[in-house]
């Protein structure tokens, strides 16, 4: 097993871990964190796969992608936190309502 | 002449544009609306007369617009189209007068007259459609534009009736759409041609053609109220009287029957259809419809509902005549398209007058109405007798040709159907006449004026027209002569 593959597999592991938490956790902050863990997984995959060529010269493109991805993730997390605070201020709760009792305002 | 090819479009636009403009008029501008309505109606009659004159001399009007790959929109004036457009133009004019009188002072008239005009435009489109695709488009447009007229009163009953109407007609539309699309994938063309365009298909496709035929006929049969697809019509009686008149005599029901004629003549071709063995079941269905709905009419006490079941029955004469697959019965069927229209619209106008002026809706309450409203009841009596088939009124001509045609095509049992139906017609019309003329009124009623002029004259005129159509049937330009002209295309030019 090469180091590259190890990194890639770790990345996919993080992705799955995040996905699991996203589904299982009901606290919204946990969900946002889960999303962040997932993005880290994807970035790890991208970065590790950059070493595609056996000679070891590194492909710069995935790095550019990772940087873009991080920017997007930061923005998304900020938006998520802002909405989270609003929800907390309005309802005093930090979880999503069940499918049954939504939209009864 | 190429320059006149847009004339069919113009016929369509007279009612389409006037309808759209009427929507924008404020409720209070009665004068503008009335002027516009009558102007459009008169110019339509004028246009159609002009075209009839030229078609008799061999002119051919067609306009073709490229629409989709392999599909054109075609509007044309062939003799069959003229028969229907002519009928709708004349009856639109009379109904417009009537509706102006009937709805005087009631709310939402801009909406009413707008949809009324659109409905007529859709009918003209159905009549002039030059291929099945164009037919489908206008047929569905008619479904949609008639809905606001049926629910016009805005009551809960109206909403329910509208719902029933939609369940039937939208369902029928889907069947028609399926049949049309299927046929197009088989043939690659949908243009109406004399003697049909499907007979060149290889014989292994014939089972598919039969299924398509069933789909198409069920699709148009909903509007043509073939039993058991007739259920919406009696319910739709909650609509105002001019709407009922329009639905029965001109627009919706007739569009359905007209569709049956088109499918039989210009899609399948009557000989090919007969060879496929699909005309006989249609004939039987029409016969069942005639008898069944006449029986149902007997038990109705509500005048408009009795008339509705009578429509279901009378309209099937047309289907029967065409399905008999012989030239003479075809003349009988086609001429009934016009004759039934003239007579039935009179009956509905009269029913509307009685309801509007005296507040009477039930037959049992009609005692002595003849003395109170002599002209209305005379018109009613004349056309009711016509419906029964008393000579020399128009209905007699239709029945005569149907009977002769049945003998000619070797279906003598149809004569039996006609006799039974005539007896039933008499059984449900004559008691009305007796009650109205000879029973003593329950209460003393005030004398003249009978009703307003706008309500009185339209039925009188249409009644006279149906008398004239019967009396002068042999002269040129009468419906009968025109039906002969059409039939000569389908049967004699081969």
């Amino acid at each position: 097993m090469t180091t590259t593959l190890l990194y890639a597999l770790t990345g996919i592991g993080l992705f799955s871990l995040g996905l699991h938490a996203l589904i299982v956790q009901s606290h919204l902050l946990h969900k946002l964190l889960a999303i962040n863990v997932m993005s880290c997984g994807v970035f790890l995959v991208l970065a590790s796969l950059a070493a595609r060529t056996p000679e070891g010269s590194v492909d710069p493109v995935p790095h550019a992608m990772v940087i873009t991805g991080i920017v997007v993730a930061v923005a998304a997390t900020a938006l998520g936190l802002a909405i989270l605070l609003r929800i907390h201020a309005l309802t005093g709760k930090v979880r999503l309502p069940d499918a049954n009792d939504q939209l009864d305002d | 002449m190429i320059t006149q090819s847009w004339l069919p479009l113009l016929v369509l636009l007279t009612s389409l544009l006037s309808g759209l403009i009427i929507f924008t008029l404020p409720e209070k501008s009665v004068r503008t609306r009335t002027t516009l309505n009558l102007l459009a109606a008169f110019s339509k009659v004028g246009l159609v007369s002009w075209m009839i004159w030229h078609i008799y001399q061999g002119q051919h009007y067609q306009i073709r617009i490229h629409f989709l790959p392999n599909i054109d929109l075609v509007l044309q004036m062939d003799p069959l189209a003229v028969l229907f457009v002519g009928l709708s133009a004349v009856l639109w004019l009379t109904t417009t007068f009537y509706a102006i009188g009937y709805l005087e002072g009631s709310p939402h008239r801009s909406r009413f007259f707008g949809f009324f005009s659109l409905c007529v435009a859709a009918t003209a489109g159905v009549a002039m459609a030059g291929n099945l695709f164009t037919f489908l488009i206008f047929y569905e447009l008619l479904t949609l534009t008639a809905y606001p007229l049926i629910v016009h009163r805005g009551t809960e009953a109206a909403r329910k009736a509208g719902q029933t109407y939609l369940v039937y007609t939208v369902g029928g539309g889907v069947l028609l759409l399926t049949g049309t699309a299927w046929l197009h994938t088989l043939t690659g063309t949908l243009d109406f041609t004399p003697q049909g365009f499907v007979q060149q298909l290889p014989s292994e496709l014939h089972p598919q053609l039969i299924v398509i035929f069933i789909l198409l006929i069920m699709g148009v049969g909903v509007k043509a109220t073939l039993v058991p697809l007739h259920g919406w019509l009696p319910q739709a009686m909650v609509a105002p009287a001019p709407v009922s008149a329009l639905l029965h005599a001109v627009a919706v029901v007739k569009a359905g029957v007209f569709g049956i004629v088109r499918v039989l003549y210009n899609v399948y071709g009557i000989d090919f259809a007969a060879a496929l063995g699909i005309t006989f079941p249609l004939m039987v269905l029409a016969a069942i419809t005639i008898i069944y709905s006449s029986l149902r009419a007997l038990t109705q006490d509500d005048l408009k509902r009795r008339l509705a079941f009578s429509t279901v029955s009378q309209v099937s004469y047309i289907t029967l005549g065409v399905a008999l697959a012989g030239p003479i019965s075809a003349i009988g069927g086609l001429v009934h398209l016009v004759h039934q229209g003239l007579m039935k619209i009179t009956l509905f106008f009269c029913a509307g007058n009685i309801a509007e002026t005296l507040g009477i809706h039930k037959i049992s309450e009609m005692k002595g109405v003849g003395r109170r409203m002599p002209l209305t009841m005379t018109a009613f009596t004349l056309t009711a007798l016509g419906m029964i088939g008393v000579p020399p009124i128009a209905g007699f001509i239709s029945k005569w040709y149907l009977g002769m045609g049945a003998l000619q095509s070797g279906h003598a049992w149809v004569i039996g159907v006609l006799i039974v139906s005539t007896l039933l017609n008499a059984a449900y019309f004559l008691p009305i006449l007796y009650t109205a003329w000879f029973d003593q009124p329950d209460t003393e009623q005030t004398a003249h004026p009978e009703t307003s002029h706008l309500l009185l004259w339209p039925p009188v005129i249409t009644a006279l027209l149906s008398l004239a159509a019967g009396l002068f049937a042999a002269l040129p330009y009468t419906p009968l002569e025109w039906a002969r002209f059409i039939v000569s295309f389908e049967f004699l030019q081969r």
Binding site: - | L68, P69, L136, V151
Partner: protein
């Protein structure tokens, strides 16, 4: 200017507008409406150019080619989609121009609408023009974030929670997509769509990428059974926002799915298209049945979107393994339906917004003579409804006819039946609304206090709805536009 330059202008204009509207927010609505106007002018110019010299354009931004630079791709399909966003966007902008001014006294979030909406417009236009799958990821995220923020704008509890759910789903979808992109890039060393199309083969990594990308985009375009987030989000947002979400946002990810499948994935997978088709069919039935059950108008419209999205997914089975005219007919039919739906659905949401403003609620059985009281609005709803039902003459009918013919010609009766059944069900839920709008409400004074609805807002809805009807009168030029540059190479298959 060449068409690609004009295309770039279509991205830069809304972006500049967004920044300006953010900086000078007292005048945001004027900036917004003039941006919309400018976009329309540029688009008209672009369309004229494209029609006079019909071909597809490939353009490297600043002469930096892939993989590091950004490449643009412009053909009939992208122009068609740009037109969809421009026309719908303008109608909604006109509505919002008046709508948010009225509410600004009580709701101070409304100034945020314009920068967000223009930002969303930037993302949508950029997505339609992008030619590489990573760039598409970025545009997808722009759209997702802007859409979530717009949803939250309504400020109510329902709006915030559904925005949150929407955000999580949207991010999950994007991450799946990005992981798929990583795998594709690893295997083929390119993100350019055209190059990928030439190199792609059926190997495990590609199949995994395909699955990830498809699932990610299905989440975003709310295909049944991944639609659960859509009705609450579209049902609780402000009217113009709902209109934008239903008309444009879900279409963007569907467009991406269409591009990817028809250009890349069709040759290497033959089970998935039918799966997508079956899910689409299920969406049509389920969405319509849910719509029939709804008691609130906006939710009914939102479920109708779920159902209509199902129609679009029929394109995958109907083009799979086919070539030539049949496939062209199928995808063009779906695209036509897409455009008609964009116009009709935005009109419906705007009409619902008017009704809510007028009577203070949108409960269907208490619509109480809306037909008489708000005739323009009900006309807008009904006309849009005709297109949604797919009855002639309307854009929806044209799309449906093309699809139906393909289904019948291929002997796929199941799909044909679903197409027809969906129309019937749609007629059911739309006429339910119209029926109640014509009649007296069930309860006394169900609309007691009424607010006047500005004419502009009524006309904006009516204009969009009329557009969806007019599409049905003369479809030939638009179908020709779609075929420019022969997207997906169905007409002239490459050797």
């Amino acid at each position: 200017m060449t068409p690609p330059d004009l295309g770039i202008a279509l991205v830069i204009l809304p972006l500049t507008g967004a920044l300006l509207a953010f900086l000078i927010h007292p005048h945001a609505r004027w900036i917004g409406i003039s941006t919309a106007l400018a976009i329309n002018i540029v688009l008209a110019w672009l369309l004229t150019d494209l029609v006079t010299s019909p071909q597809s354009y490939h353009y490297a931004l600043g002469s930096w080619g892939a993989p590091l630079g950004i490449e643009l791709h412009l053909d009939g399909l992208s122009a068609f989609m740009l037109m969809m966003s421009a026309v719908t966007g303008s109608g909604v902008s006109l509505y919002a121009f008046t709508c948010f001014r009225m509410q600004s006294t009580e709701n101070d979030h409304s100034p945020a609408f314009w920068p967000l909406w223009l930002f969303l417009w930037t993302g949508i236009n950029a997505l339609f023009l992008s030619a590489d799958i990573f760039n598409l990821y970025v545009t997808l995220e722009l759209i997702g974030l802007a859409a979530v923020a717009l949803t939250a704008l309504a400020g109510s509890r329902a709006a915030l929670t559904s925005a949150m759910r929407y955000l999580l789903i949207s991010l999950l979808g994007s991450l799946c997509y990005l992981l798929g992109v990583a795998l594709l890039y690893h295997t083929y060393a390119t993100v350019d769509l055209t190059l990928l199309a030439g190199r792609i083969t059926a190997q495990p990594a590609t199949q995994a990428a395909l699955a990830l990308i498809t699932v990610g985009l299905l989440l975003k375009s709310a295909l049944f059974p991944l639609h659960f987030w859509l009705p609450p989000a579209h049902g609780s947002a402000a009217a113009p926002v709902s209109a934008l979400l239903s008309a444009l946002v879900v279409k963007a990810s569907f467009y991406l799915l269409l591009r990817l499948w028809l250009e890349l994935f069709h040759p290497i997978h033959n089970l998935m298209p039918d799966l997508l088709g079956i899910l689409g069919a299920a969406a049509i039935i389920w969405g319509s049945l849910q719509a029939l059950r709804q008691i609130r108008l906006k939710l009914l419209i939102a479920y109708s979107t779920v159902a209509q999205l199902g129609y679009f997914f029929l394109v995958f089975p109907l083009t799979a393994g086919q070539s030539g005219e049949m496939s062209s007919s199928a995808w063009q039919g779906v695209l036509y339906m897409l455009l008609a739906h964009a116009l009709a659905k935005s009109a419906m949401f705007l009409a619902a917004g008017n009704i809510q403003l007028f009577g203070g609620h949108d409960r269907i059985i208490e619509l109480d003579h809306i037909a008489q009281r708000l005739p323009l609005t009900l006309a807008a709803f009904s006309l849009a409804g005709i297109s949604i039902m797919g009855l002639p003459p309307s854009g929806g009918f044209i799309g449906k006819w093309l699809l139906l013919e393909v289904a019948i010609a291929q002997g796929r009766w199941g799909y044909a039946m679903i197409i027809l059944l969906g129309g019937l069900l749609a007629a059911g839920y739309i006429f339910k609304v119209i029926g109640y709008a014509f009649t007296q409400g069930q309860m006394e004074d169900s609309i007691s206090e009424t607010h006047p609805v500005p004419t502009v807002m009524q006309w904006a809805a009516l204009a969009l709805a009329s557009g969806s009807i007019l599409l049905g009168w003369y479809p030939a030029p638009l179908l020709e536009l779609l075929a420019i540059g022969d997207p997906f190479h169905f007409l002239h298959p490459s050797p």
